[in-house]
Structure formats: C-alpha cells, structure tokens
C-alpha cells in the first residue's frame, strides 16, 4: 500500500498489487476444518428504510470463514448502515442476516416479526467484533481497562485472567507499554488499536470494521492498517468498510461496491480495480484516482 497512497512513493505501474491470495491460502485450512460451517455470515434480501428513504435494497452477501470482504462506495451509499446492520446496531427491516446460521436481531412469531430479546441478540452476536470510525473507547478507563471490561462483566473472567488476556491483546496490537494510559493520552492510531484489541479479546469469529481509519490523521493510518493486515494473515474473517483502496486491493479476498443502497459490483480486487465494467464503479474509481493520484499532474 505504501507505494500508491503515500506521497513520495513510486507511481505504480499496475496500480494495485493483489498479493493476498498467495499468502493466505495455507493459513485458511486449519480454521475451516474446525467449524463444520464455513459460512460465517449470510445476508439474504436485506433491506432498510429510514422513513421513505430506502438506504439498503436486496443485499445478498455471504462471507466465508477467513475471508476478507471490503465494502467500498461513495458516502451515503449505505455501506456503513449495512455494516452496522451486521451487528444489529441498525435494525434492518427486510430480509435476513444470519451469523453462523443463527438469525440476528429478529424473532419470527405468529404475529410476524418481533425484535428478539436482548439476551438472544447478544447470544447471536457474541462472536461478532466491531471496530468503529470514532474508536468509541471509554475515556474513564485505561487501555487495559477498556480491553478487560467485557471480559470481566460479560465473560466473567477473574481479574487476573482478564488482565492476562487483555495484556496479550494489547501486545498483539503493539501497545503493551501503553496499558495504563487513558485514551486521552493516546494518539488516534493508538486508540484505534486499543479498540481493535478490545474487540479481539472476546475472540470473535468475525470482525467488522466501520471506516476504521477515516477519523485518523494521515500519518497514523498506516499503523492501524498494519494491525488489520496481520489479523487477515492470521485467518480472521473480516468485513471492512473503507476508503483505503490500497488496503482493499492488497488484503481483500473480495471487494463489494455499493451505491445507492445496492450492491452494484462484486469480485476480486483485480476484477473490481482493473476490469471495472459498471459505469458507476468506473466513475467512483476515477473520482478516487483524481483525488489521490495528484503526482500525475505535478509540474515538472
């Protein structure tokens, strides 16, 4: 990714390298044999409206174990809403979202659909980890406190166990030395890494990232993406809403392009970034390049 998006990098001849398929295959295997089901997340005909505005229409999506799916699209395309629906932070109102086979958020009764009780929602999404654009760390707890909180209260770990796991997670994101720091004392990139550690500590089967680097200063983006790359290499199943096309190109197994609440295009990074056929996707990529490939217009 360095080559394309960091100013001063070489202008790449093939703009996106797609290295992921070759590096990951071997790591996938052991995880797939663990669970009998290889599909972690299934969306069928998912729709959502805010009043009269239909922000999601007929979304069909399957995410396999260890797959990394990137959602791209212009702002307002519904990609964040889609991702938030996967954790039932938004109540989707049509179709089904299933996590490892279990229906998320709703209950079918003879009177139609009802919101499932909170305990059941928590049961279904206990294997879903979420990372937010604004980090959403709890400012009154240290980094370690943030990571340990749910372990203690939800998983009922003892203080020692939680601390041990929490430290391991912070080490994993390279922040073991900041365990006692409060969020206000950390940079944006560090805060986001703590947020990732917080989600990882619960050992999720799938991680959802909602524009994890959009709120960061440009020089802090790299450290967060690096952590996410490592996760992908280790075989974590991930769905990522992102504006970082370089990351999508390098790390994703499949890229999905959303526009006006619909999936307009999907495919491997190569298919999406090199052989875009749909006019809307072409337009989107062109806009992106115009904004980011400033060196093409540099004065001699």
């Amino acid at each position: 990714m360095n080559s394309l998006l960091i100013p001063g990098g070489k202008a790449p001849a093939p703009p996106y390298e797609t290295t992921r398929e070759t590096t990951r295959k071997s790591l996938d295997e052991p995880m797939k044999t663990n669970g009998e089901q290889s599909t972690v997340l299934t969306l069928s005909q998912v729709g959502k409206s805010f009043g009269n505005l239909r922000v999601l229409k007929g979304i069909e999506l399957q995410v396999q174990r260890s797959e990394v799916v990137c959602l791209i699209g212009p702002s307002g395309s519904g990609k964040s809403t889609l991702l938030r629906s996967m954790a039932f932070l938004e109540e989707y109102d049509e179709g089904e979202i299933r996590i490892e086979g279990q229906l998320l958020g709703w209950q079918d009764t003879d009177k139609g659909r009802r919101r499932a009780p909170q305990s059941q929602i928590n049961q279904v999404r206990r294997n879903v980890g979420m990372v937010f654009q604004q980090f959403n760390l709890w400012p009154h707890m240290t980094a370690l406190g943030n990571v340990c909180e749910a372990l203690r209260r939800v998983r009922k770990f003892s203080a020692d166990e939680a601390k041990k796991r929490g430290m391991a997670m912070l080490e994993k994101v390279g922040l073991g030395h900041k365990a006692e720091a409060y969020p206000a004392q950390l940079s944006g990139g560090q805060q986001q890494r703590v947020a990732i550690a917080r989600a990882l500590a619960m050992e999720p089967h799938i991680m959802l990232f909602d524009e994890p680097t959009s709120a960061l200063d440009p020089e802090l983006v790299g450290e967060v993406l690096q952590v996410m790359k490592t996760l992908a290499k280790e075989g974590m199943t991930m769905v990522v809403v992102t504006h970082e096309m370089g990351f999508a190109a390098q790390v994703a197994d499949s890229v999905i392009f959303l526009d006006q609440g619909e999936i307009v295009a999907r495919g491997t990074p190569r298919q999406i970034f090199h052989n875009a056929e749909q006019p809307r996707l072409q337009q989107f990529l062109q806009n992106y390049l115009d904004r980011n490939a400033f060196w093409q217009d540099a004065k001699p």
Partner: protein, 223 residues
Amino acid sequence: MTFDASIFTDHLGDIGSGFLVTLGTWSSGVVLGLALGMLIAVAQVFGNNLVRAPLRVFIELIRSTPFLVQLFLVYYGGPSFGISLDPIPAGILGLGVYGGVYFAEIFRTGFQSVARGQLEAADCLGITRLQCVWRIQVPQMLVMILPALVNMVTVLCKETAVLSIITIPELTMVLTGIGSETFAFVETLLMLCIGYLILVELCSRLGMLLETRVGRFMSRQPR
C-alpha cells in the same frame, strides 16, 4: 453596637445541637435526594412514555413551587393522607424530594452527555444496559456534572434554614430563638451568617477537590 460574646458561651449547648440538626437534616436530605434523583433520571432515560410523562409533570410541579410550600404540604398536609411525620422526618423528606428533582435533571443531562458510540461499543461486546449505566455512563457523567451536583448540595444546605419555619430546631431556629431571648439580634444573626458561609464554602472547596480527583483521566498528561 457592642459585641457580647457571652451570648454564645452561655448557649453553647443549644448552638451545638442546632448545628448538629442542620448537619443531620442536610446530609440526610442530600443522600435521599441523590438516591431519588438517580432513580427518576434512570426511569426517564430508560422508561417508556407511560413512565416519563407523569415524572415530567411531577418534576415540573416541584420546580415551579417554593420549597416552603412543599414543606407545608408534607408537614401539615401529610396527616390528611395518613402520613403524620415529626418535623425532622418531614423536613428530611421535603429536602429529599425537592433536591431529588433537581438532582434528577442534573443526572439526566449527564446521561445524555455520554457519546452514543461508547454505548454501541458496549452493546456490541454484550455488556448489558445496567452494567453500561454503572460502569460506563455514571463514572463519566460524574466528572461532567460534579460542579452542578456540588452547587445543588450547597443550595440544600441553605434550604435547611427554611426548616426552622416548621419548627425544626436547627441552627437558624436556635440562634433566632437566642436572639429574641437576649435581644442580641444582630450578634446572633451575624453568627448565623458566618456559620452558613463556612458550611457552604467548605462544601464547595470539597467539591473542587473532588473534581480534580475524579477528572484525572481527562488530562492528556500521563500520570
């Protein structure tokens, strides 16, 4: 105007007990008010409209009427509802209800001040609503609302003077009583003023101390 200190030395016991009654009613009223306020705020934030609407009316009524009138209703009106209270319990109840309503408003704004995203993050991790209130919302909002809370506590301190009207033998009643006994009105009232100033000042000093304590995580400097 000569100042006769013997007035105070002669009545030291009475003054002492009056001071204790003031402290006692004040602190009990604060504790009751805080508990009631938290209850009302939680009901308002998490309850449905069936809970919220009557609470809203109750809050509006209490805030629109003088404390003295509420005190009259509790103390003189109580027996008609089968609640005959001695002056001191009636006074504490009155202080608690009056304070509770204001505390509730403070807590409610506190709850709203914690960013939604933090609650979503907790929600995603399976943390329950109740755990969320106690572990995430309350500790954070305390920092934000502490000045308002301390202010309300000092307001209640001053309101204890009104308790003298329903014959609670607290500081104001004791000292004005001594005044009318000895005709040393100005001396006793001066003493009374100084007493309240000290109490209120102590309270806000303590509050400031507490503020620097609990707000430490907001600072960017490592400890």
